[in-house]
Amino acid sequence: MAHDVQNQMRTKTEFEYTRRRSADEMRGQVTTFAIMIFLTLIAFTAVYADFSPNLVVPIILLLAVIQVIMQLYYFMHMSHKGHENAKFFLFSGAFVAFLTVLTFVTIIWW
């Protein structure tokens, strides 16, 4: 096992560069967070506002999906490279999940 990585010292510039990159990324993540909070607020107000469920339900579901995608891509770094397998299996799982939920809300009606 363990083809151990040789620990390479990064050059100064490389190091600084990655530092800056992750700091940037961190800022992006804080923005993401703000958006997520915002989306949550919209969802809750939509329900409080007492619109017709036919309107509210699709909206809040959409908001949930957006929020989850943000979690996956920004917090869990699914956009980074090296996540091909992660993506494939997570979306396959989501596909099975979708089918399951779909049948349970359609053909178990009694």
Binding site: H3, V30, Y48, P53, Q71, M76, N85, F89, G93
Partner: protein, 208 residues
């Protein structure tokens, strides 16, 4: 891999979470596990949706009467924030700043514990109102879905605490960095599930 290797922020690999084969394996394996968890929660969600508001003849509880959105809102905020704090922790792990990482994790744990506290309060409240586990198919499916999520939170907390304790003396190395990383993935996944819970269970429950 040698546990005694001492790193500086500069020599610390950029992707410490999967820079060893063990790390890579853990990383991929854990993502796959999350894929499986997706179908697990889907089954629970599906069951809940099929049994929502279903109970014995003349059942008195419906989603509309039961759920209290303010509480759910607070819980949501707590969990969302804890997701961010764990991102902070991972940021510091990347920078080889062990102390800061532990600190942010500590905050994450506190937020998670607060969430769990509210959840326990909520369950307790329902049970007192008579909406207990065996009251109806609806109650069984509600407690099982939300409770399974709660259990995940609990496991996540335990995991973080265990990691923080066992490594407090050892510091960060390539053996435990992947563990921290996947624990935080787990935490995000818990948040993902919660997003669906507050939407599908609570908001859709109240909206109709």
């Amino acid at each position: 891999m040698d546990l005694n290797t001492k790193y500086t922020p500069q020599s610390w690999p950029q992707h410490a979470e999967n820079s060893t084969l063990e790390g890579k394996n853990k990383f991929v394996g854990f993502w796959l596990f999350l894929g499986g968890e997706t179908t697990l929660f889907a089954s629970l969600f599906a069951t809940y949706l099929a049994l929502k508001n279903k109970g014995p003849e003349g059942m008195e509880f419906t989603t509309q009467e039961l759920y209290q959105l303010p509480l759910v809102f607070i819980m949501t905020m707590l969990l969302l924030t804890s997701s961010l704090t764990s991102v902070y922790a991972m940021y510091h792990m990347k920078n080889y700043n062990f102390k800061a990482m532990q600190a942010w994790l500590m905050i994450t744990v506190l937020l998670g514990a607060a969430f769990l506290g509210f959840e326990i309060y909520e369950f307790n409240h329902y049970v007192h109102e008579g909406f207990n586990y065996s009251q109806s198919a609806f109650s069984s499916s509600f407690f099982t879905l939300v409770g399974t999520h709660g259990l995940h939170v609990l496991i996540g907390l335990g995991w973080f605490i265990l990691l923080m304790l066992r490594n407090s003396k050892r510091g960060l190395n390539l053996y435990n960095a992947p563990k921290y990383y996947i624990a935080s993935l787990y935490w995000h996944f818990i948040d993902v599930v919660w997003v669906f819970i507050f939407t599908v269970v609570y908001l859709m429950g109240v909206a109709g």
